[in-house]
Amino acid sequence: MSTPPTPATTERFSSLPGWMRPRDVELPGLGQLRLIETTVLLLVGLLLAIATINDVARQVHVNQRLIADLRTWRSYTGHDFKNVSADQELFGPSSQREVVCGNTSAGAPKATTQICLLIWGPTVNGKRAVHGGWYLPAKVEDERSDRYGCFGSAAERLCSR
């Protein structure tokens, strides 16, 4: 930005008022404009930084809840399986209610009959409360039509049979 100012390169724009004429290089003395731009940039940067940190904290809380959910599933079923999935979509991501599914016996994910638990509430001793659940046949996704053997009052309206 240290290049000395030069007049506009062509005569084509000479009819324009001075402040509208094009320039090849910026005029010196734009410190105030740069200051305003830099201030806006810093404020935007601050907003983005706060939003990012807030989102990380939010995601950490979600992860901590999911950790409690998986621990609850393993404790409830007595199976220390690694492949247990938690679904936040059934009740909505902001509901803090999850459906956690896993196999009832050892095998590849969804290769055997699955048991799904409805879990919500505060975390106590690293676990949360189970409010019901259902079974799913092997090799199916958690669709309402495939749920059977529902238990717990919370699961009744979510099951077809």
């Binding site: 100012p5 084509r12 094009p22 983005l48 990012t52 992860n63 690694k82």
Partner: protein, 445 residues
């Protein structure tokens, strides 16, 4: 007084002594972090690595399954080493990294990523699927999604979200990818990796040239781009066509900022921008700034000529769908990714996500930013910097933000006359990396 006078050269000598050692150490750390990611990725079975043919199978016994924790630690360590190298190299008198060392280091990172598997994205398999649709199956990739070739060997590698989606890339890129289709999936993946690597080499060579033309330190400039962990791990590692787009962008910049940019060069630069937009439309953001800064007929004619030629080729090859880039852009603009700043700000204000009104607000904000930048360029502001700001604004205001999108302004930032652009680009990249770290703080297993 004399003690001060004596201590200054002493510190200088000491600095000159330890700077190359520290530089070498940081370079080793960066290489090690990148190698860790690549080798662990080659071991397979990682949620971070897309399902893919075993192109790096011979590396698989060396690494362990790449988990979020290892990946994030390696990425953060790499980012730290990158920052350290840039700080050290900022003072050329320290001699921390010579020109030769810089080139060797960048080449080493490129080689490590080249021999490894595809990292962090299924996009390259979409590129191959679109090519195979056209060449092997006689289908128009601007009409059909990869699901139309569900029996093709590449289909199982295409990301689930993209299986029914027709290509959003420009017709030039689609035509460039067509010769790769007969190579088979493995051959096409290698060819895509080679294309990304060569494009990166070209981008870096032109970054060097542009930096030198603007009296900036070319070694620092290529280190800032070529060692950038997002550039290496996400951009190059995913063999994204953004690397080809960046090459076109830097060809245009190099043509324009040459000491004697003749009308022919300016027309050529504008034509190259259009060609780049026919690879990936985003680079078209450079064109208005180039035209406003030059205020000549040549770039307008060059751009118009390229648009007409590109539209003709696109129409002949793919019909009207092949030139309807606006529809594809509108479709993609409606997507929302968890990493987008718009989504993060929505969460900050207690909303579950981005709503249609937010899309309109963001578009409005982007228009205002571009208008301000155009006015500043008209009044003599560096058009390269203005283009970089525009690309940065596009990525920040996009609701569909991916790591390789925040690479777009980087080569422009290192050769621009406004250093705020580089700071802003690096801060945005840092925030993107910070946004990934939640598995480090609470890992769900």
């Amino acid at each position: 007084m004399s003690a001060v006078a004596q201590s200054e050269p002493l510190i200088g000598v000491r600095s000159q002594r330890w700077a190359p050692v520290l530089g070498a150490l940081l370079a080793l750390v960066l290489v090690a972090a990148t190698a860790e990611i690549v080798l662990d990725a080659a071991a397979g079975l990682s949620p971070l690595i897309p399902k893919q043919p075993a192109i790096a199978g011979w590396l698989s016994p060396i690494g362990q399954r790449l988990g979020y924790r290892t990946f994030l630690i390696a990425l953060l360590v790499g980012a730290g080493a990158y920052t350290g190298i840039l700080v050290l190299t900022r003072a050329p008198a320290l001699g921390a990294i010579s020109k030769r060392s810089a080139i060797v280091l960048i080449a080493a990172l490129h080689a490590i990523v080249f021999i490894g598997p595809i990292l962090l994205s299924t996009d390259v398999f979409s590129y191959i699927a679109y090519a195979r649709m056209g060449v092997e199956h006689g289908l128009n990739p601007y009409v059909h999604g990869p699901s139309a070739i569900s029996t093709d060997p590449v289909f199982k590698y295409v990301g689930h979200d993209w299986r029914k989606v027709a290509t959003a890339y420009g017709p030039l890129y689609t035509l460039l990818s067509y010769p790769l289709a007969p190579l088979g999936v493995d051959g096409a993946v290698w060819a895509m990796k080679l294309m990304a690597t060569l494009a990166s080499a070209g981008t870096l060579a032109l970054t060097w040239r542009c930096a030198r033309a603007r009296d900036l330190d070319p070694v620092w400039a290529i280190l800032a781009v070529g060692l950038n962990p997002l550039y290496i791990v996400y951009g190059l590692g995913g063999a994204h066509n953004d690397m080809v787009m960046l090459l076109a962008m830097m060809v245009a910049v190099a043509l324009t900022i040459a000491p004697r940019a003749s009308p022919g060069r300016q027309a050529g630069a504008a034509a190259v921008v259009v060609a780049g937009a026919l690879v990936k439309a985003t680079v078209a953001a450079l064109l208005p700034f180039m035209i406003v800064s030059r205020r000549r007929v040549a770039p307008i004619l060059g751009a118009l000529g390229a648009v007409v030629l590109g539209a003709l080729i696109g129409y002949v090859a793919f019909g009207v769908n092949g030139i309807n880039i606006v529809a594809a852009l509108n479709r993609d603009a409606a997507f929302v990714s968890t990493d987008s700043f718009a989504n993060e700000i929505a969460h900050l204000f207690g909303k579950p996500g981005v709503f249609p009104i937010d899309h309109d607000l963001l578009k409005g904000g982007l228009v205002l930013i571009v208008l301000h930048l155009l006015w500043r360029t008209w009044r003599g502001y560096d058009w390269v910097a203005a283009s970089g700001w525009a690309l940065l604004a596009v990525s920040v205001t996009s609701t569909w933000l991916l790591a390789w999108y925040i690479l777009w302004p980087l080569p422009l930032a290192v050769v621009s006359r406004d250093k705020r652009l580089l700071w802003a680009t690096l801060v945005i990249q840092l925030l993107f990396v910070v946004h990934q770290i939640s598995p480090l703080l609470a890992s769900v297993q």
